[in-house]
Symmetry: C2
Subunit: 309 residues, 2 copies
């Protein structure tokens, strides 16, 4: 086989109090990566064909992930990576993580390496450094495993999928804001210390959120998916968020959070949610700011996969 293709879904990291810990895969978008073996070569050479993504291999999460896999296996050669992506870029929906995840799955399949799930997450995380500067595993773990995942440790990499109740689905509200260096900037806004009372508050809310997801308990999820540490510290970047959150909760959203480093907002919904009122209310808020936006419906998604054909 000279070409392998893999797909991976969009994801939302953090989920309120779960900063740098949790990720949730949804089908708001999909990235498809093909890796083609071109020829033997005395070193690793990667050529990118990426639409609107960075084509410098050291700035692209997919090629950086592939490079890390190849180097770890001592494999040289010339490869062409082709990326077809419909996950909105730079809006906090894990587009770079999905690229890295799909790329690792593709190269693993192409060369029949047999990486474990956690090894795939690890290589995809190394690819993510091209995007954020610091390796973080929450989006790539969700993209590799699917569903809701908990990153238990990154060294060694250990991800634990949390089996959650499937009654919830999602709205992703996407303000079309370009914030250059967003992930790096948003990391600098995170405080280096938290008070014990803030810490306890967050532990409570994390527990509620996790129990809400697992038991399908919308009240626990609504109570739990709140954060006063990371979301609050980044609020200056997303002044529209508090009002949209208020509107969504008033209309019986089962939970609302900033998706990853933003600016997108993840709204958890179920049969009790008044989706129409959220769409119109959130739309009105964003219109008043002059920021263009779109809103996508999505469901919990599975992990990265090799499409048939």
């Amino acid at each position: 086989m000279r070409t392998a293709t893999a797909s991976a879904y969009s994801s939302s990291a953090n989920l309120g109090p779960g900063f740098d810990t949790m990720g949730l895969a949804h089908d708001a978008g999909l990235t498809k990566i093909s890796v083609e073996f071109i020829e033997r070569s005395p070193k690793v050479e990667l050529e990118l064909n990426c639409g609107n993504l960075p084509t410098n291999p050291s700035e692209n999460t997919a090629s950086l992930a592939v490079k890390n896999v190849l180097e770890s296996q001592g494999i040289n050669g010339s490869f062409r990576i082709c990326i077809s992506n419909d996950i909105p870029l730079g809006l906090g929906l894990g587009s770079s993580g999905a690229s890295a995840a799909a790329a690792v799955v593709a190269i693993d399949s192409l060369l029949d390496i047999g990486l474990s799930m956690d090894e795939k997450v690890n290589f995809a995380m190394l690819g993510e450094t091209a995007s954020s500067g610091t390796p973080h595993a929450d989006n790539v773990a969700a993209a590799i495993y699917g569903g809701l995942v908990m990153v238990e440790s990154t060294n060694p990499m250990k991800v634990r999928p949390l089996k959650i109740n499937r009654k919830f689905s999602f709205l992703t509200i996407l303000p079309h804001m370009s914030i250059p260096g967003k992930t790096r900037i948003s990391r600098t806004l995170v405080p280096s210390e938290v008070s014990m009372s803030q810490h306890i508050w967050a532990i409570r809310h994390t527990s509620l959120m996790v129990s809400g997801f697992i038991n399908g308990d919308r009240d626990a999820l609504r109570a739990g998916m709140n954060d006063h540490i990371v979301e609050t510290s980044r609020m200056q970047m997303f002044p529209f968020y508090p009002e949209i959150k208020k509107i969504a909760l008033k209309n019986e959203a089962a939970g609302v959070c900033i998706s990853g480093a933003g600016p997108s907002i993840l709204v958890v919904i179920d049969g009790e949610t008044d989706v129409e009122s959220i769409l119109s209310g959130a739309g009105a808020v964003l219109k008043s700011t002059g920021i263009a936006f779109s809103i996508l419906n999505s469901n919990l998604a599975g992990g990265a996969y090799i499409p048939e054909n």
Copy 2:
């Protein structure tokens, strides 16, 4: 009716990363409280008959809880409170919380007040100030509700029971150490701030622990029930703990933590646990320190109740 009796079980608070947040009721011990109406009186007068507990009403959690209930209802009178308790005192098994909880349930029943569950927790928590100086709700919430509970907020009081898998049971290892002012001292050892990396670590472990309890997933529970913030800061009080924890985990305990403010140790067990080896190993450690000890088997317990005669 001139007398009402209520019972409440022992409990373990904190559970590793769940400091000031979680409590778990078990049947390692039971407290039984009778409240008897003696006569009308222009003020609240309480008489205590308590075995080995403080008989000064302002130092006893049961009478302080009853006093708070009576004052909130504007009820005066003279009452006799009789406490029969087999929960070891001052060892971190929630004896004071069980007393406060049972007392509130008894006075509520005696006067047919009709307090809600969370109101009962609130009054019992006020009773707990007699024991610790600062109100904390984790033990009383477990004693009122039973099972595993999460204190969502204390003002207003809101407790959320977490429906957990019932495959787990417990060993409580009780070093018979008297540490005067233990709860107060142990609170002063808790740091006032935690670093962001410690915080994230704790969020991860809390999530794993909660998912482990709910899903009956021993691997998640073993991974999650670990704490580097509160337990570590108090370790000087319990130098035997690390070694006992190591022995318990080596012998397939499903989780190990300091019970409340210690010195007792809660060991979560299931069918895969080598209980005999834990008993002998922990016993050997404590014998080597010269501290007398006992070890109790227990199961998840229900909430405070009115016994049928």
